[in-house]
């Protein structure tokens, strides 16, 4: 009898698949293959967006079931008999055993933001296929792998941060470079996110009104939670959401009123407002503004994602753009310059691979995980969900009229800003839209204009609005548009606020090494000073972006994308180092393949942005071209006077220097790591800072749905605890 019992291998549970399991997974594989085939073979036909959606879902399911499981058990060797830091160091605060499904929610809320929404929208200029392939393949082989591995390694080190791990495992040089890179990259990310908000709200009284009201609404929630009904978060959030919807509705009435005129703000005014707001928000106590707004933004996030998934299924929209556009091959697209390789990978950023996630995966999440094998559902699963958001955003951008898409996303210098000239410009790109259609499209969503509304947020809002109007009816296009803008702006503002605060703590911590008093986070002069420095840094970059005659998104988004991917390179580099140090060279390809790919992409892109002699791509070539023209006394379009010429020269030089700095910092980290790799390979492994194993008393399932055996085990364990049997 015993010979037929499947052998349990030490590296993980090995259960033979049941016939039903084989049938289900075979079915999913066939579904995925059919969807991919349709996407690959359709040329110049009407392609339904659902093919993309189901290709993604089927691929995610298979990757999660097979690849993620393989990494968890074989590559990482997750071991549920080993106690996690949450179990060993439980203190009810940061170390806290948390239900896996709840932690999945926390982790997803922390990683999901505006990046996966905006990046795919901009990448849609290259057609739907490059974006789809990279979002799906990238997340499976790179993004989710990075998130899960960093989570695992941090968990094995009591939740150490990425910077700390790089310093401990790679070296002081690499660690210092990583620390500087993390801080600088965060500043760029905050500036670009803020730029997206400014572009979405400028000249839009409805938007300014409803987003502006989120501040008093959040303050009200904060006071309600602190003084009236302490701790009743669900109740407060429900009130907040109701007020938020009311704010969107009322916003529609203020057009053509005195209030509407007063709230029609220019880009520059809005930038100043945002910088002042950013500073105030980051020095206020968190309970007043940040925490309540975080509840609102999390609710909106989940709500919109669920609505969008249902909306897509109901509306079944048809893709309006080509599979691969000529911009992908020629590199002359108006939204951002450069060819498909490397720029599509840079632009999509967060939906496929996001270095920023490594900061979350090595922050609070590893301190709350109950069982080691749960890294699969939380790290890998959370990132798959983020990728799904990116796919939905890509679809939303691909189902709107392409003439409108390019009129919205080309910089004002190119479209000229009025319907006639914009229609003409779109015509030169090979698309057609009448000036009248542009005016009508803006009127349908009650915006003064949609021309050159760059940044991705307005385009996504138009896409979401058209999908929801088709799916749910009711002629509420304008409401849905502003609903979508609200949803994006809300969590960008939360990210800016939280990011400023994190930056402030990093700065205080670093300076605290030399001047201990400055490191005291309760000392007001230090807190205010550090906040001011962080806000001034991103505020300056934001101002540069807003006033850039060449278009801020066009100029800054590549910098944002490349820095995010460079951060991912640092994280993957750490994973490779740890695999080698742990003597697992056999499996090192799991993080090494994405690392090599990411380095090839980011270094090519950095090289082009720094050294390309094409002024549309290379920052220094661009500065040089404008400098030559200025010295010759000329004014080059789109600059309109000598002042703007100077501005282009300064901005492009700044961007070029930043770009170069980031790339050099990453090269330093990688070079330092390679030295460690060679040593580790020669020695067959090296000691690491991994905390020694201690046995675990805790029983908890490892996946979203507990198996029968797991439920039984949990029940027995709970019984034994109730009866007080020895631990």
């Amino acid at each position: 009898m015993s010979t037929t019992t499947p052998v349990r291998r030490p590296d993980g549970p090995k259960r033979r698949m049941t016939p039903a399991g084989i049938a289900i997974w075979g079915g999913i594989a066939v579904l995925g293959a059919v969807c991919w085939t349709v996407l690959a073979l359709s040329r110049g036909e009407e392609v339904s967006a659902l093919w993309i959606l189901f290709a993604a879902l089927a691929s995610y399911a298979i990757a999660y079931r097979f690849y993620a499981r393989f990494i968890t058990h074989r590559v990482l060797g997750a071991d549920d008999t080993r106690a996690t830091p949450a179990e060993r160091l439980e203190n009810g605060q940061d170390f806290d055993v948390t239900d896996r499904r709840v932690l999945f929610g926390h982790h997803f809320a922390a990683i999901a933001g505006a990046g996966p929404l905006v990046g795919p929208v901009l990448a849609a200029q290259m057609g739907y296929l490059p974006g789809t392939i990279w979002i799906i393949v990238g997340v499976i082989l790179a993004g989710a792998v990075q998130d899960m591995m960093v989570l695992f390694f941090s968990m094995r080190r009591d939740g150490k941060s990425l910077g700390q791990m790089v310093r401990d495992e790679i070296g002081v040089v690499g660690g210092t470079a990583a620390l500087v890179a993390v801080f600088a990259i965060m500043i760029i990310i905050l500036a670009v996110l803020a730029l997206v908000v400014v572009n979405a709200l400028a000249e839009s009284p409805w938007g300014v009104f409803s987003i502006g009201l989120t501040i008093p609404i959040a303050l009200f929630m904060g006071f309600y939670l602190r003084y009236l009904r302490p701790g009743r978060v669900s109740e407060t959030t429900a009130i907040g959401v109701a007020l938020l919807l009311l704010a969107i509705i009322v916003g529609g009435w203020i057009d053509d009123t005195g209030l509407g005129d007063a709230l029609t703000l220019s880009h520059e005014t809005l930038t100043v407002c945002l910088i002042v707001y950013g500073f105030i928000a980051s020095v206020l106590p968190v309970w007043m503004l940040l925490t309540p707004r975080d509840y609102l933004s999390t609710f909106m996030k989940v709500g919109v994602i669920v609505l969008l998934a249902f909306g897509l299924l109901l509306a079944r929209p048809v893709l309006q753009n080509e599979d691969i556009t000529s911009f992908a091959l020629d590199g002359d697209g108006p939204v951002f310059s450069g060819k498909l390789f490397p720029f599509v990978f840079i632009t999509i950023a967060c939906g496929a691979l996001s270095g920023f996630h490594a900061l979350i995966s090595s922050g609070t999440t590893p301190k709350m995980i109950a069982k080691e094998t749960q890294v699969r559902m939380i790290g890998y699963g959370g990132m798959l969900m983020e990728s799904f958001v990116a796919i939905s955003a890509l679809i939303a951008a691909c189902v709107i009229d392409q003439g409108l898409y390019f009129a919205m996303n080309s910089p004002a210098g190119a479209t000229g800003g009025d319907p006639g000239s914009a229609a003409e410009f779109v015509g030169t790109l090979g698309f057609s839209i009448t000036p009248d259609a542009l005016v009508q499209a803006a009127a349908a969503v009650q915006e003064p204009t949609l021309i050159s509304r760059t940044g991705g947020a307005p385009t996504l809002a138009v896409g979401i609005s058209s999908i929801f109007t088709d799916a749910f009816g009711g002629g509420l296009a304008a409401f849905w548009y502003h609903f979508a803008i609200m949803f994006e702006a809300l969590f960008i503002l939360t990210a800016v606020d939280a990011g400023t605060r994190v930056g402030r703590f990093m700065l205080q911590d670093t300076i605290g090494n030399f001047w201990p008093r400055f490191g005291d986070t309760s000392w007001r002069p230090a807190a205010w000073g550090a906040s001011a420095v962080v806000v001034a840094a991103w505020g300056y970059m934001l101002w540069v972006g807003v006033t850039d005659p060449l278009g801020g998104i066009n100029q800054l988004f590549p910098l944002f994308g490349i820095s995010n991917q460079l951060l991912a390179a640092i994280a993957l580099c750490l994973c490779v180092t740890l695999m080698l140090k742990h003597g697992k060279a056999r499996w090192v390809w799991v993080p090494l393949v994405p690392l090599v790919w990411d380095l090839v992409v980011t270094m090519t892109a950095s090289w082009q942005k720094v050294f390309s002699d094409d002024p549309a791509i290379g920052y220094f070539a661009q500065a040089g071209r404008y400098r030559d023209a200025r010295d010759a006394g000329e004014v080059l379009a789109p600059a309109q006077d000598a002042g703007q010429m100077d501005q282009v020269i300064t901005n492009s030089t700044t961007n070029g220097v930043l770009q170069l700095t980031f790339a050099v910092l990453v090269v330093v980290v990688v070079a330092n790591a390679v030295v460690v790799w060679v040593k580790a390979l020669r020695a067959g492994g090296l000691p690491t800072t991994e905390v020694p194993a201690q046995s675990s008393d805790l029983v908890a399932p490892s996946d979203f749905f507990a198996t029968k055996e797991e439920k039984e085990a949990v029940r027995e364990w709970e019984q034994s605890r109730l009866t007080g049997s020895p631990r």
């Binding site: 605060q93 940061d94 239900d99 499904r101 709840v102 929610g105 926390h106 922390a110 990683i111 999901a112 933001g113 505006a114 990046g115 990310i189 996110l193 939670l225 602190r226 302490p230 701790g231 009743r232 978060v233 669900s234 959030t237 106590p285 968190v286 309970w287 925490t291 975080d294 509840y295 950023a349 967060c350 996001s354 920023f356 996630h357 900061l359 979350i360 922050g363 609070t364 969590f491 939360t494 990210a495 939280a498 990011g499 605060r501 994190v502 402030r504 703590f505 986070t521 309760s522 995010n564 029940r715 709970e718 109730l722």
Partner: protein
């Protein structure tokens, strides 16, 4: 502990179970459930719990010094 007993009740309707599950999830996610845990722990240890207002304030102070990044 009460939750364990509830799971065993055979007569719970599927809809009711789903509602309870959702309610549990929302309370856990928002952190409201932590208060119940605290009260239960105090009861088990025979301590008198502090008022909810003070307890929530204590938690807000902790949050103040442990900023969590929100990603892009």
């Amino acid at each position: 502990m009460g939750a364990v007993a509830a799971h065993r009740e055979p007569e719970v309707m599927p809809l009711q179970r789903a509602w309870r599950g959702l309610r549990w999830y929302v309370r856990e996610l928002t952190g409201e459930g932590r208060w119940d845990e605290y009260v239960a722990r105090c009861a088990a240890e025979g301590r008198r719990p502090m008022s909810r207002r003070d307890w929530e304030r204590h938690r807000a102070d902790q949050r103040e010094h442990a900023p969590q990044s929100r990603c892009c």
